[in-house]
């Protein structure tokens, strides 16, 4: 069975939701304590949402120096699937695993609502099972989700097909309506929406499962359980 490791920082608050969502999809889930410099034994890593280290200084600024992040960086460099959700996306940009940064929402409002998203790239570990152009309803819940990068980085992201999800209606001022991006190889993905909060009919949407199913497929491939 594929195993998904979910990083737990002091201040993370979506780790149980992610564990529950991946377990419902048939995978094993395990918490990875931020102070342990290892991700041994897992086939995918999720850096969940919340307020790691209280978001002191900047979201993700302290978390990126946690011992576990060295192991996550190594795992990513070896091609292991790594997904940062919300605060996890902020951690991955601070750690340099993804380019750009997430700044305060335009309009200075905390946005907590269902967002409509368009899948614009299927090359990422989170979207390999989804068709381009698919529309998904997945909630957002953030104050600092305004994705920013310099024009050259944006051109690279576009040219290399690394803009994974776009908002249909931009809620936060993100450049080019970006809701999710991935690394050049597609194995590292950061997104502001919370797929784990759209993983059951009672939550109002199951669209998040389509992304998590892709992640579990990438994890199974990593584990050697499937070839393609």
């Amino acid at each position: 069975m594929t195993k998904v490791g979910v990083v737990l920082f002091p201040g993370s608050n979506c780790e149980q939701d992610v564990l529950e969502a991946v377990r419902r999809l048939g995978a094993e889930g395990e918490l990875l304590w931020h102070g342990d410099a290892t991700v041994d034994g897992v086939d995918a890593v999720v850096v969940p949402g919340g307020f790691a280290h209280g978001d002191y200084l900047r979201p993700g600024a302290i978390a990126r120096f946690s011992p576990v992040m060295e192991a996550v960086t190594l795992f990513a460099a070896e091609g292991g699937p790594v997904v940062g959700i919300c605060n996890g996306f902020q951690v991955l940009t601070e750690a340099g695993l993804l380019p750009g940064a997430l700044s305060k929402n335009r309009g200075l409002t905390f946005r907590c609502e269902m967002a409509t998203l368009r899948v614009d790239s299927c090359k990422s570990a989170l979207t390999e099972e989804v068709e381009e152009g698919t529309i998904l309803s997945i909630p957002i819940n953030h104050f600092e989700g305004n994705y920013q990068c310099d024009p050259r980085t944006l051109a690279t992201l576009r040219d290399e097909d690394r803009i994974v999800l776009r908002y249909v209606e931009n809620p936060n001022g993100s450049v080019d309506d970006i809701a999710a991006i991935c690394s050049a190889d597609g194995n590292v993905v950061g997104l502001m929406p919370h797929p784990e909060r759209a993983s059951h009919p009672l939550l109002g949407s199951e669209d998040g499962n389509r992304l998590l199913t892709s992640l579990l497929r990438a994890a199974a491939r990593r584990a050697g359980l499937i070839r393609t």
Binding site: L57, R58, G107, L108, Q148, G173
Partner: protein, 88 residues
């Protein structure tokens, strides 16, 4: 020697500063007119032990770039002075 450092972290020109803009819009309602270019940043005070001012400055600049600021959004300005009594 002991040095006192002051680090100012502010947004790059052109990076949206919604907090600064909101404060700026509030000022006229309080009767303050003629105030513009309000920008919000962060400030840090540190004490550094180093052989000389240049070394202290290099240390503070390095740590400011590494952790205090996010270079994608922000720039830093560092001021270093000998701590009071340090020259005695």
């Amino acid at each position: 020697m002991t040095f006192e450092a002051f680090v100012e972290v502010r947004k790059h020109p052109g990076i949206a500063d919604p907090e600064g803009a909101t404060i700026e819009r509030a000022l006229p309602t309080l009767g303050f007119t003629g105030v513009s270019a309000v920008s919000v940043g962060k400030a840090f005070r540190l004490t550094v032990e180093a052989d000389d001012e240049a070394t202290a400055r290099a240390t503070v600049e390095a740590l400011a770039e590494r952790i205090l600021a996010n270079p994608v959004l922000e720039e830093v300005r560092v001021t270093v002075t000998a701590a009071e009594g340090a020259r005695a």
